[in-house]
């Protein structure tokens, strides 16, 4: 068991791309940690640098108390599950799972015992003599996890663990993975581009872009109070409304409406701001202080519908309405933000005005 400490870590590829850019990060012992970001943001490179498969250009990587920046991957006590699982095709499931022990020249009996014990815990007991090609995607993933667990490493790294499964299986595997991590209490870092996956699984999330961490926090913080407009845009299954406006007389003028700024936030008159509000945090109301506009599109999402409202100044605002309360297209509605849900971002720096922390309940 061990935490991971990264200081001023940079990984630069030979072609000059700074995939990881002087990044500081500390992952606590036993934590389930997500690296989240769009493709090309450096999250996989960061994971591979922790594993030792990419050489850090500068900075240090420590696992537990040991500085492993220059250590070989096999000496870091790190186990990794690859996106494609990388199960050895010529070995049986049992041989695959026992491979970390075979490398250490453990006895055959010890290898068999480890394979039997680990596979039983992951529901693979009947499959030990099969080859990877004879398994389903979900089974292959569990074999890859079993092999990583059999290594008895300090840290488990998962590269896009759910991306190769189909949609239904993915939900099942997500629950399974969360329970497994909790049962093992193993420090786990996983990479994903799917914000829903990160929110669902992780204890903490680092949102990355261009080799840097844009925001680090609990799923709640990252979802409720994104630190800047990039994170605000990236997190959430329906994109957050980001509307540019100005401050006048203590109120925020945006999309033809005058909204009360969040409590504790005071801004100079005339300052440019971006108002951020999730469609889920807007409700249709008859009260006056809201954003008024014409309904242009209604998208059915199942339990809710996403309504796109055209507002003055050509702003498009998304509003989520419950089942059965959909307004008709062309009608005029007013959407008011739920109390405390309106976020303001500085018009120049795009950073959140006010504190990003949320009180954990």
């Amino acid at each position: 068991m061990a935490g991971i400490e990264l200081t001023e870590l940079s990984t630069v590829y030979p072609n000059g791309v700074r995939a990881v850019d002087s990044l500081d990060l500390s992952v606590r012992d036993g934590e389930f940690f997500a690296l989240l970001g769009p493709s090309g943001c450096g999250k996989t490179t960061l994971l591979r640098t922790i594993a030792g498969l990419e050489q850090a250009t500068s900075g240090t990587v420590s696992i537990g108390d040991a500085d492993v920046t220059r250590a070989e991957p096999g000496r870091r006590r790190v186990a990794m599950v690859f996106q494609d699982y990388a199960l050895f095709p010529h070995m049986t499931v049992a041989q695959n799972i026992a491979y970390p022990l075979r490398v250490r020249h453990a006895s055959r009996a010890a290898q068999r015992e480890a394979a039997a014990r680990t596979s039983a815990g992951l529901g693979l007991a009947g499959l030990l003599e099969r080859r990877p090609a004879q398994l389903s995607g979900g089974q292959q993933q569990r074999v890859a996890l079993a092999r990583a667990i059999a290594m008895e490493a300090d840290v488990l790294l998962l590269d896009e663990p759910l991306s190769n499964l189909d949609a239904r299986l993915r939900l099942e595997a997500r629950t399974f993975l969360k329970r497994l991590q909790r049962d093992l209490g193993l420090t786990t870092v996983f990479v994903t581009h799917d914000q829903a996956e990160a929110l669902a699984l992780a204890d903490r999330i680092a949102v990355m872009s261009q080799g840097r961490i844009r925001q680090l926090g609990s799923p709640k913080e990252v979802f409720q109070r994104p630190g800047d407009t990039f994170v605000a845009n990236f997190i959430g299954s329906t994109p957050m409304n980001l509307l540019s406006g100005t401050v006048s007389g203590g109120l925020v003028e945006v999309a033809g409406a005058r909204l009360k700024p969040p409590p504790g936030v005071s801004l100079a008159d005339g300052a440019a701001v971006t108002a951020g509000i999730r469609p889920e945090y807007l409700h249709v109301s008859a009260a006056a202080d809201g954003i008024t506009g014409t309904v242009s599109i209604v998208e059915n999402l199942g339990v809710t519908s996403l309504v796109t409202v055209e507002c003055p100044g050509e702003a498009l605002v998304g509003v989520t309405v419950p089942e059965g309360e959909e307004p008709s297209v062309g009608s005029t509605i007013t959407a008011a933000p739920d109390p405390g849900r309106l976020l303001l971002y500085d018009g120049e720096t795009d950073e959140l005005v006010g504190e990003a922390k949320v009180a954990e309940s």
Partner: protein
């Protein structure tokens, strides 16, 4: 009487199908006849090889043999025939072993390590390989081997053969190893495997179908090579089968048809056996373990 109705109607559609099937039969007959002619063309030498060794009076033509085993006795009594086959085996085992081992290691390195100008190097090697075992380098190679005192050495000739086969073998095998995902090796490295363990446990088994292909191919190349052994193995005791075949003439200079058919058959056997063995044992097949 409803059952009669369909029966009465049936002839009508049948006429049209008969016209169609008539055309189809004609086309099919033409196709089969053409294929039979092509096959016969290629089958004649095979049939000759099957029948001539057992014929009391083998000629160059193909006819039903007058069964006898006397050709076999004659071949076994030939002073150099069996020895030359042993020479061939030694020569080819050396060439094949050297080629397979070196090509595998070189192809793996070239596939995984970034070297500037790697592709240019590979193409240059490929180009030069036809020179090394080709006619252009005959004289220099002979002189070099002569000065080294390696004329009439099976092992030395095997090395020269391997030198000629290697570039193409590396080229083919590198392409094959390029298609093996790196995550296999990376995965093994994370679990603590040393470079040697990565090679033995992962790369070689995964690349086995490619290596098997190279092995058979290198053997066939060496087995059938005439020019190099002819130049470098001057002593008739040392000559391999491919070269000895050329010397099987009677006093008048015409081909010795008592020995040649049997000898040819014996000469063909190892290659076929090797192919069947490798194909069965090491398989030109690939089990997937990567989820695409």
């Amino acid at each position: 009487m409803t059952s009669h109705e369909p029966r009465d109607r049936q002839p009508q559609p049948r006429v049209s199908t008969r016209v169609n099937s008539g055309k189809a039969v004609l086309r099919r007959t033409g196709y089969v006849a053409f294929m039979a002619a092509v096959l016969a063309f290629f089958a004649v030498p095979m049939l000759w090889l099957a029948s001539a060794p057992f014929d009391s009076d083998p000629g160059l033509g193909l006819h039903w043999p007058d069964w006898t085993l006397s050709n076999w006795t004659a071949t076994f009594e030939h002073p150099y025939a069996l020895g030359s086959l042993v020479n061939s085996v030694v020569l080819c085992v050396v060439a094949t072993a050297v080629t397979t081992v070196l090509a595998t290691l070189a192809a793996y390195a070239l596939s995984r390590v970034r070297i500037p100008g790697r592709d240019a190097l590979l193409y240059l090697l490929l180009l030069l390989s036809s020179v090394v075992t080709g006619t252009a380098a005959m004289v220099p190679i002979f002189v070099m081997m002569f000065q080294l005192g390696l004329i009439n050495s099976q092992y030395a000739t095997g090395l020269v053969l391997a030198g000629g086969i290697l570039p193409a073998a590396i080229f083919i095998l590198k392409d094959f190893i390029d298609s093996v995902p790196r995550s296999y090796e990376e995965s093994a490295r994370v679990f603590g495997a040393s470079p040697a363990q990565v090679l033995l446990h992962v790369v070689l088994p995964v690349a086995r179908p490619g290596i098997a292909t190279i092995l058979v191919w290198a053997f066939v190349q060496a087995w059938g090579n005439f020019l190099l052994p002819f130049l470098l193995l001057r002593d008739i005791d040392a000559q391999p089968a491919a070269v000895l075949l050329n010397t099987m003439k009677d006093e008048g200079g015409s081909a010795n048809l008592t020995v040649i058919p049997v000898f040819s058959l014996l000469y063909a056997v190892p290659v076929v056996v090797l192919y069947l063995f490798v194909s069965k044992r090491y398989g030109f097949r690939f089990h997937g373990g990567i989820k695409a």
